[in-house]
């Protein structure tokens, strides 16, 4: 069976990480082709529901990356984003979602190399984890019977 090729979506901010990815391009740095970039004006614009939708539509991993603190073109977009991810990650953790499949990072416009390494690193990590199947078997199956035993063990 051909080796599992993970589907990874990257939500990046236009001013830093997207430019960093362009820089990786202009310096012809080779990296894995499993990542598809979706461009946002700022990390502050990335909605937590887009991450859920990505996993629901079959993504195996998600990268969220933007400007370093204090670098934000809009002064505070990344600060708000950081607070949002702290809260969102703790909800996912409570629910038992594998938060390791979401990688957060800061990549500046000058860090082309760092972007390439990040993509390779995340691709290997997700390849090791295997496809994301947590959401697959859930719909349509009546799990009602099992729910009560767990409630007040």
């Amino acid at each position: 069976m051909s080796e599992f090729e993970p589907k990874i979506v990257a939500f990046v901010c236009n001013w830093c990480t997207y430019a960093g990815a362009d820089l990786a391009g202009t310096s012809r740095t080779q990296y894995a082709s499993n990542v598809r970039i979706v461009r946002f004006p700022c990390t502050g614009r990335i909605d937590f529901m887009l991450l859920m939708k990505a996993f629901e539509n079959g993504a195996d991993g998600v990268i969220v990356s933007g400007c370093h603190p204090n670098d934000c073109h809009y002064t505070s977009g990344n600060f708000h984003a950081r607070r949002r991810w702290i809260v969102f990650r703790s909800i996912l953790d409570l629910i038992g979602f594998d938060t390791d499949r979401i990688t957060f990072s800061w990549v500046s416009a000058a860090e082309g190399k760092k972007w390439a390494n990040l993509v390779d690193e995340v691709t290997d990590k997700i390849k090791a984890k295997g496809p994301f199947t947590d959401l697959d078997k859930l719909d349509g199956v009546q799990l009602k019977e099992l729910y009560d035993e767990a409630i007040t063990k």
Binding site: E5, D22, S33, I37, P41, G44, D47, L50, K53, N57
Partner: protein, 669 residues
């Protein structure tokens, strides 16, 4: 159903080397909503662009996707081409196939598949695009200049000479700022009054400039092109129209024991005073805090003696509303005073003075009319010690930056002292001499070689008084760190340049950011040094950071030119990528709940509270948020923040971003 045209570029062979461009175009043609797809060697070339323009007409396209290099390169080019072709430029998007696909992946089937996926993503985004039109914001062609120092004066004159109206607001009774307090200026030693006073008069007489002295900005609201500013004209208690500036009042005024700010506390002034002889306007003002009439209800002599009957105690502060298109912030700087230094006597030794006080001693209009005399006993000092870097470059004092101007004016002070008192001895304790301007280092060398000022490289650890002399204990690091003790008659501290005490409140009124030293923050230290992050507000002079006069003047002219650019057209066009709060039919009016938590999220304060009123009764039906398109820079933080998605960002709307994600993940990678 959208009719989208997909144009895949070979980019010579930069893309076609590793991506099977023909297959990408073929696959693109099959995508829902795509009416026409083709690939071409150089899409960005002229023939390439004309192909797009023709395709739009021929296939009646409603959206364009160009698979080529990064949007950061040619998005504008292709959008112009789309516009020429007759469709809204914002319906043309770029799929980045070069920097993020062909250049970074080998020639494999997966790379082509990635290219196809990226194209499908952007096709989906374009299918959800709506036509957007540049935002037109009317511009009031009046500029507000806050601060009447050399920075404010230069900026005001430049803008006024360009034919626009200028309103200058100066806190103290006269314009001139700190420069008017200087004696001579380095490196040319020309007297500062001579080069400044003409400019001050020019400001006062310029038809396009309205001058408000003894006035402060009360509040600033609105946005670039449409600022509403409230200015408080503090009560002068002197009717400017009647007063001739004859000076009888301040000669007869009985309370004479008020420390004179203009002479940096070295002399006293009366309650009714004009700051300095060349003041513009040269009309006095009553210092109500120290005037007997206002404090104890007695006196009133100035009113009796005034030949023109210009004194009017009942004058009240007046708040005026002005509409301006842009603002130059030139609120200047302050310096640390001697009481800031415990090791140099907590400011209690009379003969330990700061740079400004020495300027006043050296100035012809100063308390000693130009003669360098000791404040304690008025004698001419035989030995003066100058301390460079007093407080600056000192983390322990919390001021870790260099104040840039002290090396130069310390050399100047030493030179002036030697010129006025040849046999006197001048010592300068310094760390490093920073004289990087034009003719600057030559000036310092002249002080050392011709006027034999003794430069000692070392810091002074302590100053104490002993029978009338000031013992200065320092060290000479160039003479293997020998302790040095000088019995000086006077010590001049070149104290650190700091922000004005009320800089923080001025910044908060204008919603501009400032650093931890309360210097105002420029938009970008290298590329946009005269603008702030708030569109329409410029910076000039030492309020941004310590700066000498040449830099200040050039920055002031730069700020003025930015504003002239802004005022060059009646309307200002802005990128339409802005957030919009939805509005719909009554009785709902908008899905926004009016929680207004998004107001704080916006770094540009672009979201305002709007009261939706019933037109007939005026009763408030609903409170909701509203985005001011002039201020919004399109970061979208509020869009991701809003709980029930009432606010959306044009160009990166919720529907577009979600359709991109879904389109991306439909097919295996």
């Amino acid at each position: 159903m959208a009719r989208i045209g997909v144009f895949i570029c070979h980019c010579g062979e930069n893309i076609s080397a590793t991506v099977d461009v023909a297959k990408v175009a073929e696959e693109a043609a099959k995508m829902p909503g795509v009416a026409y797809a083709m690939d071409y060697k150089y899409m960005c070339s002229d023939p390439g662009q004309t192909k797009i323009i023709e395709a739009i007409k021929e296939h009646k396209l409603t959206g364009i996707v160009v698979g080529a290099c990064s949007p950061r390169m040619h998005e504008a080019t292709f959008r112009k081409a789309a516009e020429k072709g007759g469709i809204n430029p914002f319906l043309c998007e770029i799929a980045n196939l070069r920097e993020q696909v062909s250049w970074v992946h080998p020639r494999t089937e997966a790379t082509t598949r990635k290219a196809i996926d990226i194209v499908r993503t952007i096709v989906n985004k374009v299918s959800k695009d709506t036509p957007l039109f540049p935002i037109k914001v009317p511009v009031t062609k009046t500029a507000l200049v806050i601060g009447g120092g050399i920075a404010g004066i230069q900026a005001a004159l430049d803008i006024a000479n360009a034919g626009h109206q200028v309103i200058m607001v100066e806190k103290s009774p006269s314009i001139g700022g700190h420069m008017s307090q200087l004696s001579e200026t380095f490196p040319t030693l020309d007297c500062s009054q001579c080069i400044l006073t003409p400019r001050m008069v020019e400001v006062a007489q310029h038809p396009n400039i309205t001058l408000h002295t003894f006035a402060e900005v009360e509040s600033v609201s609105g946005f670039v092109g449409n600022f509403d500013v409230k200015v408080r004209l503090k009560a002068r208690s002197v009717d400017m129209s009647k007063c001739t500036g004859c000076g009888t009042c301040w000669q007869k005024c009985p309370s004479k024991k008020i420390p004179d700010e203009f002479n940096a506390g070295l002399s006293y002034r009366t309650a009714i005073y004009s700051p300095f002889p060349q003041a513009v306007p040269n009309k006095p003002v009553i210092d109500r805090a120290n005037c007997n009439y206002f404090q104890k209800g007695k006196c009133g002599i100035c009113k009796k003696v005034c030949p023109a009957g210009a004194i009017d105690y009942e004058m009240e502060d007046e708040i005026i509303d002005i509409k301006v298109g842009a603002i130059v912030t030139a609120t200047g700087f302050d310096i640390k005073h001697t009481d800031f230094f415990p090791e140099y006597g907590y400011g209690e030794f009379k003969d330990v003075i700061d740079g400004l006080q020495f300027e006043r001693l050296a100035s012809a209009s100063g308390p000693t009319s130009g003669e360098i005399r000791r404040p304690s006993d008025g004698k001419i000092p035989e030995k003066i010690v100058f301390l460079a870097c007093s407080g600056s470059r000192d983390k322990a004092k919390g001021i870790e930056y260099c104040s840039k101007i002290c090396c130069m004016y310390t050399a100047k002070h030493a030179m002036l002292y030697k010129h006025k008192h040849h046999e006197g001895n001048a010592y300068v304790f310094y760390m490093d001499i920073r004289s990087a301007g034009k003719n600057y280092d030559e000036f310092v060398r002249r002080a050392i070689e011709e006027d034999d000022v003794h430069y000692i490289r070392g810091r002074v650890s302590r100053i104490y008084e002993k029978d009338g002399k000031l013992i200065v204990k320092g060290v000479d690091t160039l003479m293997n760190a020998e302790p040095v003790e000088i019995e000086a008659d006077m010590v001049v501290l070149a104290t650190a340049v700091v922000a004005n005490p009320d800089a923080e409140s001025v910044a908060q009124k204008m919603h501009i950011s400032y650093d931890k030293h309360h210097f105002f923050a420029e938009a970008h230290p290298k590329l946009r040094p005269v603008e702030t992050n708030t569109a329409g507000i410029m910076l000039a002079g030492a309020c941004q950071t310590a700066k000498d006069i040449p830099d200040t003047v050039s920055q002031a002219s730069a700020a003025a030119s930015k504003i002239m650019g802004l005022f060059s057209s009646d309307e200002m066009t802005r990128e339409p990528v802005v957030a919009v709060v939805n509005r719909c039919m009554p009785p709902l009016f908008t899905t926004c709940t009016g929680c207004l938590l998004c107001l704080e999220v916006c770094p540009y304060h672009a979201i305002e509270r709007e009261e939706i009123k019933d037109r007939r009764t005026g009763e408030i039906l609903k409170v909701a948020a509203k985005v001011n398109a002039g201020l919004c820079q399109g970061c979208g933080t509020c869009v991701a923040f809003c709980r029930n998605k009432s606010i959306d960002l044009q160009g990166f709307s919720n529907q577009q971003m979600l359709s991109e994600v879904v389109a991306l993940l439909n097919k295996p990678f």
